[in-house]
Amino acid sequence: MFKIINARFLAENIKMFEIEAAKIAKKRKAGQFVIIRIDEHGERIPLTIADSNLEKGTISLIVQGVGKTTKELNMKETGDTILDVVGPLGKPSEIENFGTAVSVGGGVGTAIAYPTAVALKEAGNYVITINGARSKDLVILEDEMKAVSDESYVTTDDGSYGFHGFVTQKLQELIDQGKKIDFVLAIGPIPMMRAIAEVTRPYKIKTVVSLNPIMIDGTGMCGGCRVIVNGKTQFACVDGPEFDAHAVDFKNLVDRNRTYADLEKKALEKFEHNCHLVEKINELEK
C-alpha cells in the first residue's frame, strides 16, 4: 500500500499526486518511471516520475485522465492509497553538457520533461523550454519550468496564452532565428513527438523522445512494450523509455497503442456509467 499524502489538480483533468515511496524517491533519476496498480482489479500502467522529495520520502506523479484507470486515479484524494507502485523502472535519461538544450513538453508531457530539464540545467546546459497546451487553462508547471530555464516559452493551440501555435512552430522559429541548438528532448502525445523529430531531422540535431507503449511488468518479461528503433525491436521498459527520435518507427507505436482502443472505450463507458449511478444514489440519500 502506498499512501497519497497530497493530491491536487494542476489543470482541468490533470492531477498531481505526492506518494509516500521513500526507497523509490531515493533511487529514481530523471527519465525513469513507475508502474502502478490501483487495486486488486486494476491494470498495471506506467507513469513517469515527475519529481521526488528526499526529506518527505515522496515521489510525484502527474496524471491526465484519459482512460478508465487514469480517470479512476484522478478521483483519489489526499489520504487515499494505491495498492502497488513499482520502480524506478527504465533507463535514466542520458544527461550531459550538450551546450544548448531544448526541452519540449506537450500537454501532460511537460510534467515528464520537467525532471530532465532540471537535470540538463544541473549538467551546465543553456536550457530552453517550450511547453505546449491546447489552451491557457491547461498550461501546467509554468513557474517550475521557468525556474530551471534560461529561456522559456509557452505555446497554446488556440492562442489564449503565450505563443499562438504548436510547439513545433516555436522550435522552428528558434532554429530560423539562427539559434545553435545541440540537443532536443521532446515528450508529449505521439503526433507531437513525431512532428518534432521531423523539425530537427534536416538539421541533424540530436533529438530524444520518451515513448509510452503499452506495458505490463516493466521488467522485460512480457515484450508487450516493444517498439521499433532503427529497424530493430527494443523493449521500452528496459531499453528505454527514451530513444533517438530520428530512429523511432512512430507509425508502429501509434498502431500498437490502438490495440485495445475499443475495449478501453467499453471499460471507460462502464466506469463513467457507474460513477454516474453512485452520484445519483448519493444525491437521493441527501
Binding site: I216, T219, V238
Partner: protein
C-alpha cells in the same frame, strides 16, 4: 493385507487419471486432472515392485525416495508418504502436476519396460493433495535463530525452495519479487487449468507461517542493487532466482503488428491480470472469441497458450511447430490433452512472415512446410524448409512461444557477476556460487528455460552452500 507377488503386481493395469471431459473443460479454466481416489492410489502403489535398486530414483533430478513413499501409499499411510517426499522435494503438489515424469522417474521405472510405468507423478500429486486437504500440513519449526540474513531475489520455484531450507536452518530470509504476486512462472505463466493458483498460494502461506518474509513490487537492480543488499541492507548472502523472463521472438517480418503476442504477455494477461474477466478486471486482452489463433512453438508454454486461447473461445486454435511431434519438448500429457480439446496441430511448419492491414492489424501468416534432416547440436533432427511449399493461413491473433532468454537486469546492474555467452549466470555446479562473493544463483537464470524441478533442486543445493558460507564465513 496379503503381499502381492511381482507377477500379480505386473498384472494390475496403470490407473488412468480422472479428467474433466474435454468438450467441457475446453470452455473453462478449472483443473483438467481431478486426481486419484484413495483406493485407486493404493492400487496404483501396489504396482510398484519395490525394486532393490530403484532406477526411478536415479531418474528423478532431486532423487525423491520414490520406492519408499510408494510403499507408504500401498499401506494407506498417505501422510507418511508426503513426509518422505518432502525430505527431498518441498513442493510435491506442484511437481506432481508439472514435472515431465515421462522423461524422468517414470521413464526409468522398471515396470515401464514391459507395461506402463507406475504413475509416480499422479501418486506424488495425490498424497500432496491429501495432506493439504486434511489440514494437517506440517509446518516445520525452524532451528534457533542464527542471526544471519539472506536475501532471495525472485519468488519462483528456485527462490521458494531456497527460502524454505534456509528458514528451517534458522536464518532470517527475505524474498524480493518484482511482480505484485508471488510464485514466478507458477502464477504468471502456468495456467489455472494445469496448476491451480490456490495450491501455489498455500505453499507460500506455509513459508510465511514459518517466518519467511516477502517483499513484492521490488525490482532488484533498480530499487536496490545486489551490492546494496550485501552492503547497507546488511544481508550476509544473496540468492538470485530471477528466472529466464525475456521472451524470444522469431525475427520475421510483421512480428510487431497488433495481434502478435509473446506467450509471456498473453499468459500474463490471462493468469496474472485476469484479463478474461475484463471489464471486471481492468487489463484487456484481444478478444479470441470466434477468432483464429495461432501459437508458434512446441513446448509447455506453447501448449498452455494454445489451450488458453481455445478456452477464451477461439474458433480455430492452431499449434504450429517446425519439427515433428517426437521432438516437441512439451510434456506428453499436455499434448494429449491439447489434442482432446480440439487444438489443431500443424507440424513441420514454420512461419515466414506476418501479414496485416494498413493499420498493422494482423490478418494472416505465411507458412512454409519443413522436412527433417540431420540431427543438430541439440540432438534433434534439424528442420529444413521445403522449397515451393509456402502458403497463407488466415489468423487474427498470433502467439510466439519459442522460449525465453535470460533477463539482463541483474547482470547489467551487477557487472562483477560472470555471465555466459547466452546471458545466463555462471555458477559452480556443486555450490551454485557465482563469481561474486556472497552471491549464489540457480534456476532458469543459470540453465536457461528449464523445469520447475531443476529450479527447485538448484534452490535447495544453493541453500546448503549458503548455510555453510554464512555460518563458516569461508567463501
Amino acid at each position: 493385507m496379503k503381499q502381492l507377488t511381482p507377477k500379480e503386481r505386473m498384472k494390475i493395469p496403470r490407473h488412468a487419471m480422472i479428467e474433466q471431459d474435454p468438450q467441457v473443460r475446453n470452455r473453462n479454466f478449472e483443473e483438467v486432472n481431478l486426481g486419484y481416489a484413495e483406493q485407486m492410489a493404493i492400487e496404483e502403489a501396489q504396482r510398484c515392485l519395490q525394486c532393490p535398486k530403484p532406477t526411478c530414483v536415479e531418474g528423478c533430478p532431486v532423487h525423491i525416495q520414490i520406492k519408499d513413499f510408494i510403499a507408504f501409499i500401498a499401506e494407506g499411510d498417505f501422510l507418511g508418504a508426503v513426509k518422505k517426499i518432502k525430505e527431498d522435494n518441498a513442493l510435491p503438489a506442484i511437481c506432481g502436476r508439472v514435472c515431465p515424469q515421462e522423461e524422468q522417474c517414470e521413464q526409468a521405472c522398471v515396470v515401464g519396460k514391459r507395461n506402463d510405468p507406475v504413475a509416480i507423478g499422479y501418486l506424488e500429486r495425490f498424497v500432496a493433495d491429501y495432506e493439504r486437504n486434511s489440514g494437517k500440513v506440517d509446518i516445520p519449526v525452524p532451528k534457533p535463530s542464527t542471526g544471519k540474513r539472506v536475501a532471495i531475489v525472485g519468488s519462483g520455484p528456485a527462490g521458494l525452495s531456497c527460502a524454505n531450507d534456509l528458514c528451517q536452518l534458522g536464518h532470517e530470509v527475505t524474498v524480493f519479487e518484482a511482480l505484485h504476486e508471488l510464485g514466478g512462472v507458477l502464477v504468471y505463466g502456468i495456467p489455472e487449468f494445469r496448476l491451480p493458483k490456490a495450491i501455489v498460494r498455500k505453499e507460500i502461506d506455509g513459508l510465511k507461517a514459518m517466518g519467511v518474509r516477502f517483499e513484492t513490487d521490488a525490482v532488484i537492480g533498480r530499487i536496490t542493487t545486489v551490492d546494496e543488499l550485501l552492503g547497507e541492507e546488511g544481508f550476509d548472502a544473496v540468492f538470485l532466482g530471477v528466472g529466464a523472463g525475456l521472451p524470444w521472438f522469431m525475427g520475421i517480418p510483421g512480428e510487431n503488428m497488433v495481434g502478435v503476442y509473446s506467450a509471456n504477455e498473453f499468459l500474463t494477461r490471462v493468469n496474472l491480470m485476469k484479463a478474461y474477466e475484463f471489464p471486471n478486471y481492468d487489463s484487456p486482452i484481444l478478444d479470441c472469441h470466434d477468432k483464429n489463433v495461432a501459437v508458434f512453438g512446441g513446448g509447455n508454454t506453447a501448449m498452455d497458450a494454445v489451450r488458453t486461447a481455445k478456452r477464451l473461445g477461439a474458433r480455430n486454435a492452431y499449434c504450429i511447430y517446425r519439427r515433428s511431434e517426437r521432438e516437441m519438448p512439451a510434456r506428453v500429457e499436455e499434448v494429449k490433452h491439447a489434442k482432446e480439446e480440439g487444438i489443431q496441430f500443424m507440424l513441420l511448419t514454420s512461419p515466414l512472415e506476418f501479414l496485416g492491414d494498413e493499420n498493422e492489424w494482423l490478418h494472416a501468416v505465411r507458412l512454409i512446410k519443413m522436412e527433417l534432416g540431420e540431427p543438430d547440436d541439440s540432438g534433434r533432427r534439424r528442420p529444413i524448409p521445403i522449397k515451393g511449399s509456402e502458403y497463407e493461413l488466415s489468423i487474427d491473433i498470433a502467439i510466439v512461444a519459442i522460449g525465453n532468454g535470460a533477463n539482463p537486469l541483474i547482470p547489467q546492474t551487477t557487472p562483477d557477476i560472470e555471465m555466459s555467452k547466452r546471458g545466463t549466470i555462471v555458477v559452480d555446479e556443486e555450490t551454485m556460487k557465482t563469481s561474486k562473493k556472497g552471491v549464489f544463483a540457480g534456476g532458469d537464470i543459470v540453465t536457461g528455460g528449464a523445469t520447475v524441478i531443476l529450479a527447485m533442486g538448484a534452490g535447495r543445493k544453493a541453500a546448503q552452500a549458503i548455510d555453510q558460507y554464512i555460518t563458516s564465513g569461508e567463501w
